[in-house]
Symmetry: C3
Subunit: 346 residues, 3 copies
Amino acid sequence: MQGKTLGELASHVGGRIHGNADLIIVSAGTLDKAGPSDITFFSNRKYESQLKTTTAGAVILAAQADTPASQLIVEDPYYAFMQIVVLLHGHREHKKIGVSPSASIAPSAVLGADCHIHPFVTLSDGVRVGDRCIFYPGVFIGPGVQIGDDCIFYANAVVYDDCRIGNRVILQANATVGEDGFGFSTHKGIHHKIPQVGRVVLEDDVEIGAGCGIERGTLDDTVIAKGTKVGDMVTIGHGTKVGPHCLLVPQVGVAGSVTLGHHCVLGGQVGVVGHIKIGNLVNIGAQAGVIGNVPDGSIIVGSPAIDANKARRAYALIADLPEMRKTIRLLQRQIGELEGKEDLNK
Amino acid sequence: MQGKTLGELASHVGGRIHGNADLIIVSAGTLDKAGPSDITFFSNRKYESQLKTTTAGAVILAAQADTPASQLIVEDPYYAFMQIVVLLHGHREHKKIGVSPSASIAPSAVLGADCHIHPFVTLSDGVRVGDRCIFYPGVFIGPGVQIGDDCIFYANAVVYDDCRIGNRVILQANATVGEDGFGFSTHKGIHHKIPQVGRVVLEDDVEIGAGCGIERGTLDDTVIAKGTKVGDMVTIGHGTKVGPHCLLVPQVGVAGSVTLGHHCVLGGQVGVVGHIKIGNLVNIGAQAGVIGNVPDGSIIVGSPAIDANKARRAYALIADLPEMRKTIRLLQRQIGELEGKEDLNK
Amino acid sequence: MQGKTLGELASHVGGRIHGNADLIIVSAGTLDKAGPSDITFFSNRKYESQLKTTTAGAVILAAQADTPASQLIVEDPYYAFMQIVVLLHGHREHKKIGVSPSASIAPSAVLGADCHIHPFVTLSDGVRVGDRCIFYPGVFIGPGVQIGDDCIFYANAVVYDDCRIGNRVILQANATVGEDGFGFSTHKGIHHKIPQVGRVVLEDDVEIGAGCGIERGTLDDTVIAKGTKVGDMVTIGHGTKVGPHCLLVPQVGVAGSVTLGHHCVLGGQVGVVGHIKIGNLVNIGAQAGVIGNVPDGSIIVGSPAIDANKARRAYALIADLPEMRKTIRLLQRQIGELEGKEDLNK
């Protein structure tokens, strides 16, 4: 690693420097671990005390502060930090191996230019892949799948038949896209499998985490719209439409036939029941259980999920329930006594 | 696709027609998206308004209703719908590829007739597979596993040593069956692994979702009885017995040594603690936490799970806790004042 | 199986016998299913009634009890049971297949002595593997990964680039280690991927369950310290440090930048928010939601998680909320009447 001066970094991200512009920065680190040739960032108040004691050479932050590090002051520190990490470290580099003779590629599959297909990858009949895609070992692409340009599918990711994948889509390892939706018709106690005729559509710039399962639709497609990022072990039910630019944190479960708007954030382990509509810019706290439609801009938490302001006080009061009941019983006794005296007063 | 007349569909499912029996139906669609040559169904009240405005050629439903579509009236609309989707679209067709030379098949493995084994599949020593099974790429079958007829294992599904798999079992992609149970003996602060000597038994017509983990038993087998369907990312603990014809919705977690009866339905993200007994025909709402035995026929929700009728009101009242506490404090003040006056009355 | 006398088992585990020391024990079984040549154990009070009716030849327990079985009395029955299961049944045996010609091994990868590498395994550039490691089919090891001795990676487990794996580490099937952390910088509505420069470090004797996802760190490593056992489908966020000898039961989710102490136990489906510190010897009940720092030795349950003693009563009272509100309303009426009479008394 060669490093950049803090001045170069500042002009790269459009910030101003308070401190030593000639400082050579070699890599990025956390506030508590960064050394004199590292740059770090400050955006979470929780770490304010570390700002004063950091041994980092430089820190990215939104406003000048009390810190021994040279300061790179920008409007959006986390965004500037991302740009600098990309500049200093880059994204993962993928070995240019071409198309491995140990891959299993159907004669009817069509590959774009400069694709890198590792051993033990399967491309089934009628698969179409765009340019510059990278498929790691064990990736399986079912018949008729169409994939755009610049996709990266990590080891053992699976895409079932006929799904549609946009450009720059990332599948982390062991992710599954397009498995059968959980659709059964129960008749006289027997669950009959309903053919899942729909597909999964992943639009441009979608990322799917390790171990996810994105069910194909029963009739309609399941859609994850552009720019949405999905964490590990998330499950999306059949026919659900996730809007663009959402963040679905690990272990979220969304049932079938749900509609989510754009820029929603679902915290870890959130569950959403089927057949509801969640608006735009909705923020759902970790472990919440959503059981009804949610208007645009809502911030909700809890199971069942309610308005966050209300919920934080309400759910915290669960701990006080024993005390509350004790008080109620005391009140009952007091009132009983008062009523007795009242009768005597008559 | 060639299509069928609505009359043909009606006789296929044993229903009667209100409308045009000669209408040609080509495919199935949802109430809001189906077109004039599509058939749809109505069984969820939520979509009642769409029934009046649907552009579908025909709709399957339980009783004559106000809709522009021709009506196919049957006792169980969702079951008839399933039959018609199967008729019009069929289940997924699997390419007849025979046994790939790129599969790794132990000399002692025995394959039935008409099996289709894709590249990169492993069948270990002593594996026995019935007739007409289909194993997609990356499937791993451990030593001594026995598998019935007509099974479909999707890409990268894994079955550990000695497990027993019935007929018509489906494993979705990246599912794991028979991994070691989470069994450790903690002695002087060290967790010692207990050999997991039991197996997993999947009976006939079981389906296991993508990314599931079904632990083998410590001593006893883990059993999933016939006809039970398991959604994505479900985990079943060691030695647990899931009864026949259950539905375990995605992300359910059942700990070890649990017994479930027949025809239970566990909603998404339900958790069940170990060493308990859940009766027959039990219905457990999404995200519930079950911490004790459950009698036959119970409908429970919440964490901790309680009777659903009670729970729906009780859990909804959490939102009212701040108001309730305010009222209690007001009552305390009022009673204090009354008691003061009472003293004055003396 | 040849069997051992109960006397031999007693001296193996350092226990004393009440009953027949010459009894031949062939295998281990559960209290309710063990037969006359089986040994079982008793440590969970729940099964006390089965102790009196067991048909087992022998039972391991902590104190002499009323049972028809011969008794092997030891201080820690479950630990003795583990030792005896290992003695009678042993751990899984792995076929000695050497290095398969159907594996894909980079010329620069270095393998220790007596490794067994199955078909369709990938070892990328610069991988170093210690002695006696076993990699099942479909395992993928990314560039630069270093692995100690005596590791067992089951089918389709994946380790991303540059991760560090200690000795005796077990990865169950379809586990993912080192996928990108869920790290994005959101700027003007677009989520920009932050290169995840950290690694995952799994120390000695760690076990990772089927279908897990252990995210690599953004800058710092994600660390799972020695002796910690992780159940199926657990997700660990980027940069989190899990201390030694913890137990993380299936479906636990720990967000990023969390620090856990040693000997913590996290029950099934527990969720932990990011950027907090959990002390040593902390016990967290199933489905709990942890949203703040937790001191050493705490036992907490509930979502939000609170002290377990308090929580068990508090969360159980949710079921009484409708009754409590009814009582409060009644009290309001009674007080209203009393105040009315009080006014009349004036």
